[in-house]
Amino acid sequence: MDYLLHVMILALIYSVFAMSLNLELGYAGLYNFGHVAFFGIGAYVSALLSHAGVPVSAAMICALAAAGITGALLAVPALRVSGDYFGIATLVFAEMFRLVCLNERWLTKGPMGLPGIPRPAWIAPGVEGMPAYLLFAFLAAVGTFVFIRRLTGSPFGRALKVIREDEHMAQAFGKNILLFKVKAIVAGSVLAGWAGTLWAHYISYISPADFTLTETILVLLCVVLGGRGTNWGPVVGAIAVVFFGEAVRFLPIPPALTRYVAPLQGIIYGGILVVIMMKMPNGMIPEHRRKNT
């Protein structure tokens, strides 16, 4: 039962993370392959501040601000390039972030990571706190969902889609493209930081090994599997990916073969990513349903 709670909390946190990426990748058409850095910034800032004695809620707010500011600082120069170059620039940014976490031992304790990150005061530590944390994560995910739905349904969201489809047209309508993109990235980064703090305070231990290329690939898989540019797509994708990942543990696998489980899972994730790109690039919930003509 506790395990089921754990899986549900993970799925909720991952859906927040996937929704934040979808805002950039799905709605604005910005292929951010370094989104995990903002997840990591949220996690590290929040963990370090709460270790320093700041109340958890205040630490979380600071973490969101830090992620947002970093997002703006990255966005302004990185938006000079577009398409696949933007993807590489952000991917490299995430790797730089990870190297800094790995090397600045005085701050992050390097590869040892930060243990003992406290939960918010009203949630009990350990297993007793799990139902309360589930509620917290659920409220957080619903809040994110509602926020993104309102944002993307607003004129701002529609303008983002126009920019994604045709920049020149958006420009002709008098939209400041750079400003729109920067705003999308800042919003996406704040929400990714939000997912990061939720995760850090839940799992209570973080290290640079949690913010690698593998996480980028996983969250990318959540978004493209569920459906880019839709509200429910990333949620469905995240739930599918997390539940699939955890369900593998219940398969009757003899102990001698357990070392093969993780690579096999990786092969399947990578394979799904390739197959989606080839067979259903719009994911499980396509943005535009085919109309019967």
């Binding site: 696949d84 993807g87 590489i88 290329l213 593998t214 096999l264 990786g266 990578g270 799904i272």
Partner: protein, 290 residues
């Protein structure tokens, strides 16, 4: 002073191998206009397949084991293109990039499935380095330098002196126009993938001989190759070569000034700064072979 010269020497050796990776990556980009992330896996598969053929049950001597390993890597390169990239070529470069990221992850996990995630080495006898008036190089490092020179020489002759090289350059310049003029696309694509795979595998094997094998070796070196490609301007073969040398030297000299933990930071910073300020590369050999 001699300390810096030694670092410079190491840099040139490392850079010559990076150049091998970068040249293949840039050739593929030049012709097909997308960043093949799975190039990384050609590097590590070349090394791991050599390990497979040189260890029991096959136990061929190393120089013989290299041949089937390189051939199989080329086969992987072909299959990538044939089964995945060719059907996707009509889509956007982003679709291809995501597919190649997925493919890279898949191939990397196949490596882990077969050989595990631990560090592995070729069981080479310990060899003493050569000393040239105070500077040290190992036999393997000399081999790296020689092999890189040989491969790049072959590439130079192929691109500038043969008809195939001419059609390759024409395709890189304008794919549609080249096809209209009767350049055989299947042939060009076969040559590009063969070159990219063979260069990647050769570089991977050399690196593995010098250090060790691990599943992430491909990705780590791909990022350096990518920095080299950007330095030269994407699609520019000689630019990529110079870029590879530059990255190798910069990274090794950097060790003298900051903590070795940040060695990889050099290529990251180069990529980042170039993308932001000079996305066309600084070795602007616009008239050179693209």
């Amino acid at each position: 002073m001699s300390y810096y010269l030694q670092l410079l020497l190491n840099g040139v050796i490392a850079g010559s191998v990076y150049a091998l990776f970068a040249v293949g990556l840039t050739l593929v980009y030049g012709v097909f206009r997308f960043i093949n992330f799975a190039h990384a896996e050609l590097i590590s598969w070349g090394a791991y397949l050599t390990l497979m053929f040189s260890s029991p049950p096959v136990s061929w001597p190393l120089c013989l084991a290299v041949i089937p390993a390189v051939l199989l890597t080329a086969f992987i390169g072909f299959s990538q293109d044939w089964f995945i990239y060719r059907p996707l070529r009509r889509g956007s470069p982003i679709t291809l990039l995501i597919a190649s990221i997925g493919l890279s992850y898949m191939l990397r996990n196949v490596l882990r499935l077969i050989w595990g995630s631990d560090l592995m080495t070729f069981s080479l006898p310990l060899a003493r380095g050569f000393e040239f008036s105070g500077y040290y190089v190992t036999g393997i490092q000399l081999l790296m330098l020689a092999a890189a020179l040989l491969f790049l020489m072959i590439l130079y002759l192929l691109l500038t002196k043969s008809l195939m090289g001419k059609s390759l350059r024409a395709t890189a310049d304008n794919l549609e126009l080249a096809a209209i003029m009767g350049v055989s696309m299947p042939k060009v694509s076969a040559v590009v993938w063969t070159l990219a795979s063979v260069f990647a595998a050769a570089g991977g094997i050399l690196l593995a001989l010098d250090t060790n094998l691990e599943p992430m070796m491909g990705v780590a070196n791909l990022i350096k190759a990518f920095a080299a490609v950007l330095l030269g301007g994407a699609g520019n073969v000689w630019g990529a070569l110079l870029g590879g040398l530059f990255i190798g030297i910069a990274e090794n000299l950097g060790v003298a000034f900051f903590s070795p933990g940040y060695k990889d930071f050099v290529s990251f910073a180069v990529i980042f700064l170039l993308l932001l300020f000079r996305p066309r590369g600084i070795f602007g050999l616009l008239t050179g072979v693209r």
